[in-house]
């Protein structure tokens, strides 16, 4: 499509001008390294440095916190949807905790759990929890009434109704929540490493900022962006396989 080509051209032009303004000395600033230097540094660090371990540290924290968060979210979401009384009991507390910006939870968690992985995993799990819980609850409560009525006509037992009707019907919502949680959890992982970290990409980023190693700092940003992109793509691929049958009801 002609339109998209112009967009890609724009990106190329911007990258080129970044490179040139830096190399020709048009912009003389330590904070303006040439793109090639960033990429070269990236390759160098990956091969000879410990960039792989850094990324691994971030990803392992992220994965652990994410899985715990979404599991808790699914369980709570289903419980809230199926047992309205429990929902009425605990929803206000959750609604009170939800608006608290995630970085504001870092200091108290640091007091409780220190600056180690436990604190970061906890805050990642908490962040991942909310979108999944809300979406699951919405999905489970919003199952097509017709399906439930048909099940009742056929006198289907509650377990079968749960397994065969409610769960598949909720799955698209759960996955949507999981996708939102994915992005949020990655951000919180990086932020917690920035604010109170000792390893991981976020910590590396802030470290490079303090050391004014701007090429490595931008490289870290590239890495973070690439991580987000890759995780999202992987998730979409998995989603497409799982719910190929889903078409939103108009």
């Amino acid at each position: 499509m002609l339109g998209r080509r112009s967009g890609l051209l724009l990106i190329a032009i911007l990258l080129l001008s970044w490179e040139m303004t830096s190399r020709t000395g048009l912009v003389t600033s330590e904070n303006w390294p040439p793109v090639s230097a960033i990429l070269a540094g990236l390759v160098h660090e990956t091969l000879y440095g410990d960039l792989v371990q850094v990324i691994g540290a971030t990803l392992s924290r992220f994965a652990l916190g994410y899985v715990i968060g979404i599991c808790a979210g699914v369980i709570v979401g289903f419980t809230f949807a199926l047992v309205p009384f429990v929902r009425r009991m605990f929803e206000p507390i959750i609604e009170l905790l939800r608006p608290i910006p995630a970085p504001a939870l870092v200091p108290p968690l640091v007091l409780f759990l220190g600056v180690d992985d436990l604190m970061k995993v906890t805050i990642i799990a908490v962040t991942a929890f909310f979108p999944v819980a809300i979406n699951t609850m919405q999905g489970a409560s919003g199952v097509e009434p017709i399906y439930l009525a048909v099940a009742r006509t056929f006198r289907t037992g509650p377990t079968r109704v749960l397994m065969k009707i409610i769960m598949p019907g909720t799955l698209p919502y759960v996955l949507a929540g999981m996708r939102i949680s994915l992005a949020l959890a990655l951000v919180v992982t990086v932020v917690s490493e920035m604010i109170a970290g000792a390893s991981g990409v976020g910590y590396y980023l802030v470290l490079m900022q303090y050391a004014v190693r701007s090429a490595d700092m931008y490289a870290a940003i590239f890495v973070i962006a690439a991580l987000g992109f890759a995780l999202n793509a992987a998730f979409l691929a998995a989603e497409r396989r799982l719910i190929f049958w889903y078409a939103p009801v108009p």
């Binding site: 080509r5 608006p99 920035m194 004014v212």
Partner: protein, 256 residues
């Protein structure tokens, strides 16, 4: 009245029980006071902060940065979004760039911004504006592209020029999406305000929270977190009220 009570009662009771439980645990020495102060202590600090007028300063600082950043980011995003939504060439030109920049967590942009702009307000406002820009832009584009073509064609037939068309037809028609984007961006903007203050601040709520933590003044830290949560909640209510006022005419076309 009875219905409302029945709805609110279970949650309220659990909340009160939780707070009372924490209070008792702290008093009994089960939880270290340095970690989790008694809720009544936090409440007392909150009261003192309000009475002494110490809340206004930092809160105003943070909200001012948020407000300015939001105004800049949202305005640019709406203008660009409308342009991208209306002219396919503009859309094609900028869409790959936007898609490239969008996945970058805006918090990760704070360190380079610090190198460029220092640790002052300019850095914080810029990072807030960046965080606000993308959600509003994407939602505006979605809204503008989804405007009923019949409306646009009718306007063109009646000889409406592009700029008034954008302002009077496409903008109102995309308003629901724009508001959804605004609601999301306020939350993100607040997060970035807090982060930028934590990483490189000298004032404001975010800075105070981390400062109190470092100084182990735990009760103050929790007090400020509570204030932050309340602010976030009130901002959300504010947007919802504005939404209701501006979108009273809008009915979601999808009804099950």
């Amino acid at each position: 009245m009875g219905r409302w009570l029945a709805k609110v009662a279970p949650g309220g009771i659990v909340l009160v029980l939780l707070l009372w439980g924490i209070e008792e645990a702290v008093d009994a020495g089960l939880v270290k006071r340095s970690l989790m102060p008694a809720p009544t202590d936090i409440g007392r600090i909150l009261w003192e902060l309000f009475v002494d007028g110490q809340v206004a300063g930092p809160l105003a600082e943070t909200l001012a940065r948020l407000g300015i950043g939001f105004a800049i980011g949202a305005t640019l995003a709406v203008i660009m979004g409308l342009a991208m939504g209306y002219w396919p060439r503009v859309y094609g030109l900028f869409e790959p760039l936007i898609e490239l920049l969008r996945p970058i967590p805006k918090a990760a942009l704070v360190p380079p911004l610090v190198l460029f702009l220092g640790v002052g307000d300019a850095m914080k406002i810029t990072s807030i504006a960046l965080a606000v820009f993308f959600p509003v832009l994407i939602n505006t584009v979605q809204g503008a592209r989804g405007v009923d073509p019949v409306l646009i064609d009718t306007a063109r037939t009646l000889g409406v020029r592009p700029l008034p068309l954008l302002r009077k037809i496409i903008l109102p028609a995309s308003a629901p999406f724009v508001f959804a984007g605004i609601r999301l961006s306020i939350a993100l903007g607040l997060i970035l305000a807090v982060i930028s203050e934590m990483i490189a601040g000298t004032g404001g709520v975010g800075f105070l929270i981390i400062d109190m933590q470092r100084a182990f003044r735990v009760r103050q830290m929790y007090a400020w977190i509570v204030i932050l949560a309340v602010v976030g909640y009130l901002l959300n209510l504010l947007i919802l009220a504005a939404e209701r006022r501006f979108l009273f005419w809008y009915q979601a076309t999808e009804r099950t």
